[in-house]
Subunit: 398 residues, 2 copies
């Protein structure tokens, strides 16, 4: 599927992004709103972190029925580890949206990102909501994407068109990263809207189908946020016929593609990142082994600093693989960097290192490790570890 990294209209949805004053930079957008013309089918996945934000508990509860009509999302404050006060604040924030739009409060979900442990000012939120409701527009996705940014250097949007039940369907989404970004479960915030007519169970299945190859296959720092959420809403305004088996594949394909594009954008803009690296482990004895090994390589600080330094440091990659717990034998594995074979038969191919280093100077390259122990494989997208990652996370409270 052809995915554009551009905002797009989706029938039945309006978007806004305004400044409520949560971010320290004056005028910076920090309150985003998505409002549907009518209740929509909805599905969501959340952080597996046992410390969860107040917003997650409320969204989990309200999305259970499979229908939502509005999402209100702020940056600059995560409203996580804030106890009962945080839960009340998130509910009151949704109530403000309900009041201004006439939407049933149980169909409004909150989402927050920023510093953990702090509460934001409700009066600011309410004023921000009033402004956001006035600003709602079918063309507002870019503003919304800007409003949810934290350490992101640019907004992330993706959109596509596809056919379903004889109709042209639109799907578009926005996401934010770009630190505390990692394993197992949806990562950070992503919001996706489509005008397809889809029953909630199918929508849920499509979202779950997309996770392993998108948001669950990326890492910036191996740290899993307390606020991770991916929410998918379907308005049905495209007027397509009821989904049949072969349409579900098209829906899954579309959701997969949008999620993968947004996930890739998150890593490309990872905190301090200068490289986007695809780590592929194949020939593993099991998928769990392949994932464990790919993830260990993708999260190793030594491997990631070598990426930053364009250092074809085969030893660090093998060190990470060997300590991952995956079944392997050092004299069987074969390793490529940027398509250049750099290790085989238990030895480095020293003559190949200069060519590998050339590949590493590019903005994007791949590391492929064939364990030659079986047939399972896994791929993880990661970035390098640079001075800027340290600067961003040591100099500011995030």
């Amino acid at each position: 599927m052809n995915v554009a990294l551009e905002p797009a209209r989706v029938h039945g949805f309006r978007f806004a992004g305004t400044s409520a004053g949560f971010k320290t930079q004056p005028g910076a957008k920090d309150l985003g709103l998505i409002v549907a013309d009518h209740p929509c089918a909805a599905a969501a996945v959340f952080s597996a972190n046992k410390v969860k934000a107040a917003t997650i508990y409320i969204t989990m509860d309200r999305v259970r029925g499979g229908r939502l009509q509005a999402i209100t999302a702020n940056s600059g404050c995560a409203n996580s580890f804030t106890g009962n006060a945080g839960l009340k604040l998130a509910r009151d924030s949704c109530a403000a949206v309900a009041r201004e739009t006439g939407i049933d409060p149980n169909l409004v979900v909150p989402s927050s990102t920023g510093v953990i442990g702090h509460l934001y000012d409700l009066a600011k939120y309410q004023a921000g909501v009033r402004e956001a409701v006035r600003a709602l527009s079918a063309d507002g996705l870019a503003d919304f994407a800007q409003a949810i940014m934290t350490t992101d250097t640019r907004p992330k949007v993706a959109s596509a068109r596809f056919k379903l039940g004889g109709k042209e369907i639109s799907i578009a989404g926005a996401a934010k990263g770009v630190g505390m970004l990692s394993p197992h479960m949806a990562t950070m915030l992503a919001f996706i809207a489509t005008d397809a007519a889809v029953a909630p169970p199918y929508l849920r299945a499509a979202l779950r189908h997309a996770m392993p190859t998108s948001f669950n296959a990326i890492t910036v720092d191996g740290d899993m946020s307390t606020n991770d959420s991916v929410i998918l809403m379907a308005s049905g305004d495209a007027g397509n016929a009821a989904l049949r088996a072969r349409d579900r594949a098209a829906l899954n394909d579309a959701v997969d593609s949008i999620c993968a594009a947004l996930a890739c954008e998150l890593v490309r803009d990872g905190e301090g990142a200068t490289k986007l690296v695809t780590v592929e482990v194949r020939g593993a004895r099991s998928v769990a082994d392949a994932e464990r090994c790919a993830r260990k390589i993708a999260n190793s600080p030594l491997v990631k600093t070598a990426f930053f330094g364009c250092d074809p440091n085969v030893g660090r990659i093998l060190m990470a693989a060997g300590s991952s717990g995956a079944a392997l034998k050092s004299d069987r594995l074969v390793l490529w960097i940027g398509g250049v074979k750099v290790a085989a038969r238990g030895s480095l191919l020293l003559d190949a290192l200069a060519a590998a280093q050339e590949k590493m100077r590019e903005r994007e390259f791949g590391v492929r490790l064939d364990l030659r122990m079986g047939t399972a494989s896994a791929t993880v997208l990661t970035c390098d570890l640079s001075y800027d990652y340290v600067r961003i996370n040591a100099e500011y409270t995030t």
Copy 2:
């Protein structure tokens, strides 16, 4: 036990450190030698990494009999992932020591640290061994400690005296770190000599006893080396009587203390480290839970950059705990930084953060998390993640 961070003599042992030309700085010591006057009881533990250095295989094999007489250790080249050529090189290196000293080659073990995947020059090694044998001295432990350094900024030695079987016993050791330093198994290189008379099984038991609270309880970057080894030799030259049950406790205590002191020195000199942080998790449902949780906090790049920035970022610590897999409830846990309580009953104690930040400005402080789920606990020593860690690992091949 009183441990001095000073070299000391140990009856029956001589030490040397010389320059064989493996390091790029001219004249830098890079070949260390430990020679005992006669075969000694010996025990060793090794890296659990499935990619292991050639030296590890040889040492594993030769220490199995419980007796060793010499250790030859080089820096500047890890001789890891070097296939059969690496095995031959390590054996030939030991043979050079055997030839120059008249020791049985099967009682000589090799140890290497430095870049993975490369071989060193045997002629240089042989010349270095000749010089080292001439330089052997009862006072040579400081030179030896210097010869095994890689990115270490200073040599690490520790020594102590204790009573065993009515005799005064000496124990002293040297270790090197300070990157690719982490989980589960002995970490990097440590060599410990004692003049106690101890049978190999008791020595092995003492070394294993020391691991969980020393080398296995530290981390710099969560990356486990391919060359990790801790070797303990006992000459018996103190002439103590055969060990009885209560003497074993004294031996264990001495080995524990030396290992813990060396391990702590490694983290204190962790690559780019400016802080030494003790992460203690208590009140866990199981020791495995406590370790998992402490290790996740200690390895989190976000937590470690916050340490570097003296940022009392409670949210990042709780994020790490919550994603560790340990059983916990966010409204039960209590967190202290530098002895200052900063989180309890599901909320941050915002008024306490300034005091916690003051504690974080010190060179050493503790993080204590009580999960209040059970009675198990674990402690991990870690350091911060600074610009210098990135510099050291991006600018040089290590």
